[in-house]
């Protein structure tokens, strides 16, 4: 028989509130991704359209009289078209491994034996994926807006602020919904490669289905709900081209994102308690 006396002392420092612990997961994920050389290369490639556009803006304003070029060209919608393509690839490449990596290596068991719940885990992963998405949508577009404001004499601060708002809203909607979707796919437990391929395949497949139905049902815009690409381009048209009839796309985009997040939350809760 032994006598056991507690000689160790518990941590007596101030505990951080449980609600903020998602930041630990978020920062750990960002540190992991940013340490990846492929992410840095990808980022370099994704920044190219914005760099070219900023250069084009500079040249056009500098040599405007000589070229007669118009600055009214809707370059933000063109830029977002490019960036959304990069976003799709980014999610397939880097977003796909966010949860599936933890599932395949059984690291989820480490998270869920800490005082964090499925919501904190979800917020951490969603926050990290959105941060990556915003790095290739919001930040480059914002830089272009700043360059535009600094070189275009006729642009008022009000117009600049409106651009910033549109860029932010458009980027956030895209980042939120695409992140929620890739995380949901990532939570299926497939390998990251299959999740990425499924993600890209779903884009093509849903676009094709929408196209067929669009032609056969009298070109209804309600079918845009089937296509994430159409919702994203509708969002760009709404914010940058003043297409008010595309408000439905914006609302649907956010609604789909919220619904996917809710489904993901329920799914993660199942992992946390392993009821199955």
């Amino acid at each position: 028989m032994s006598i056991y006396v507690r000689r160790f002392s518990r941590y007596e420092g101030k505990l951080e509130p449980p609600r903020g612990r998602f930041r630990v997961i978020l920062l750990a994920e960002l540190r992991r991704i940013f340490a990846d050389k492929w992410w840095r290369r990808f980022l370099f490639g994704a920044a190219m359209p914005a760099v070219m556009m900023a250069g084009w803006l500079y040249l056009m304003t500098t040599f405007q009289e000589a070229t007669g070029a118009e600055l009214d060209f809707p370059f933000f919608s063109v830029l977002f078209g490019w960036q959304f393509s990069w976003l799709g690839i980014m999610q397939a490449w880097f977003g796909a491994s966010m949860i599936t990596g933890d599932m395949q290596t059984k690291a989820l068991s480490l998270y869920f034996t800490r005082p964090i719940d499925a919501t904190q885990y979800l917020l951490g992963k969603l926050g990290a994926t959105m941060a990556l998405a915003l790095t290739i949508t919001w930040i480059p577009s914002l830089l272009v807006a700043v360059v535009q404001y600094s070189v275009a004499d006729h642009l008022t601060f009000g117009a600049f602020a409106e651009n910033v708002w549109s860029i932010t809203a458009c980027s956030m909607g895209a980042a939120f919904t695409t992140s929620a979707l890739i995380l949901l796919l990532s939570s299926t437990g497939l390998s990251a490669r299959y999740v990425g391929i499924t993600w890209l395949g779903a884009f093509v497949f849903l676009e094709a289905i929408r196209g067929i139905l669009y032609e056969s049902t009298g070109r209804s815009e309600a079918l845009d709900v089937l296509s994430l690409a159409r919702l994203l381009s509708g969002s760009v048209e709404y914010y940058f081209l003043g297409a008010s009839h595309k408000l439905g796309s914006v609302i649907t985009l956010w609604g789909v994102g919220a619904l996917l997040t809710l489904i993901l939350r329920i799914r993660l809760s199942g992992f946390e308690k392993a009821r199955s």
Partner: protein, 308 residues
């Protein structure tokens, strides 16, 4: 002594397969070995204890709480899973620090606690704490995994096969660490399918096989309960026949066999038999040079329990 873990008719099914069957056990403070072959249900039991699963039926209380229900309670235990192929890109220090922060430590405190814990598992001195986990040997991976379970100074430490794959030096260091944890007042539940490894750390065991609780207690206690198999004692003596002739008359002795090196006897009452051997050797003047009990160890006990 206060019960740290109490289970009552605890069962867990995976579909049609039963992983844990009607297990009722009480674990008190100290080090306890959870033993059984691969697939015995050890990991399932540990996952239930740390709240990663809910029991299909039965009751389970750990440190006074129902594990799967209370999130804040998770600060009171540390769990080291069997698998270790995660967070390859992180350094050992980052890995342990991350899990300290998930336990609620402030950033600076988490860093200090991580460094201190890595020192405790003897990983800091090799400078490997600052290298990526992908560069670690199996033993180092086990240590860093144990470190994340200890960084927040939990009352209960649950270790699933912590010695698997570790080299002899790492095994020794991990064993010493486990003993140190026990001395410091932590409750340690350590699972293994290699019985003699755990025997170096503790004498208290829970034996399970095919999801069933086979026995619990010390090796001696468990061995004493196995009436079906007599206890064997091997003696080395220069006069085996003389000693054997005296021993067969003892009521505690079941059988005596003379061998090349001495004699082997069987008894159902080990303590009484040991006393008789000492008494007879003294009375007859026949020296006993060596006395061992080949089946008074965990391997033999486990073999008897599982094979009948």
């Amino acid at each position: 002594m206060t019960a740290v873990i109490t289970t009552e008719r605890l069962s867990r099914w995976y579909g049609q397969v039963i992983a844990l069957n009607d297990v009722s056990v009480t674990i008190e403070q100290g080090i306890v070995g959870l033993l059984g072959p691969n697939g015995a249900g050890k990991s399932t039991f540990l996952r239930l204890v740390v709240g990663l699963m809910r029991p299909t039926s039965g009751a389970l209380r750990v440190l006074g709480a129902v594990p799967a229900d209370e999130i804040a309670w998770r600060r009171r235990f540390g769990y080291c899973p069997e698998h270790d192929n995660f967070y390859e890109d992180m350094t050992g220090l980052e890995f342990v620090e991350t899990f300290a922060r998930l336990s609620g430590f402030a950033a600076g405190d988490a860093r200090r606690a991580a460094a201190k814990t890595l020192d405790r598992v003897r990983l800091a001195e090799s400078d490997y704490a600052k290298k990526q986990i992908r560069q670690y040997s199996k033993g180092m991976r086990q240590k860093v995994k144990i470190a994340q379970a200890l960084v927040h100074e939990p009352e209960l430490v649950v270790l699933d096969e912590p010695l698997t794959g570790a080299d002899p030096v790492s095994r020794h260091e991990i064993n010493e660490l486990l003993k140190e944890l026990g001395r410091a007042g932590h409750t340690v539940v350590v699972s293994s399918h290699v019985l003699h490894e755990v025997e170096r750390v503790t004498q208290r065991f829970i034996l399970i096989d095919k999801g069933r609780l086979l026995a619990e207690g010390t090796v001696g206690e468990i061995r004493a309960l196995i009436d079906k198999h007599p206890h064997r004692i091997e003696l080395s003596t220069p006069d085996p026949r003389g000693l054997a002739a005296r021993l067969v008359a003892e009521p505690t002795v079941v059988s005596v066999n003379i061998t090349e090196s001495g004699l082997t006897l069987e008894t159902r009452e080990a303590d009484g038999c040991y006393a008789a051997i000492g008494r007879l050797a003294g009375e007859s003047g026949i020296p006993v040079l060596r006395m061992v009990s080949p089946d008074n160890n965990l391997d033999a006990v486990f073999r008897y329990l599982t094979r009948g």
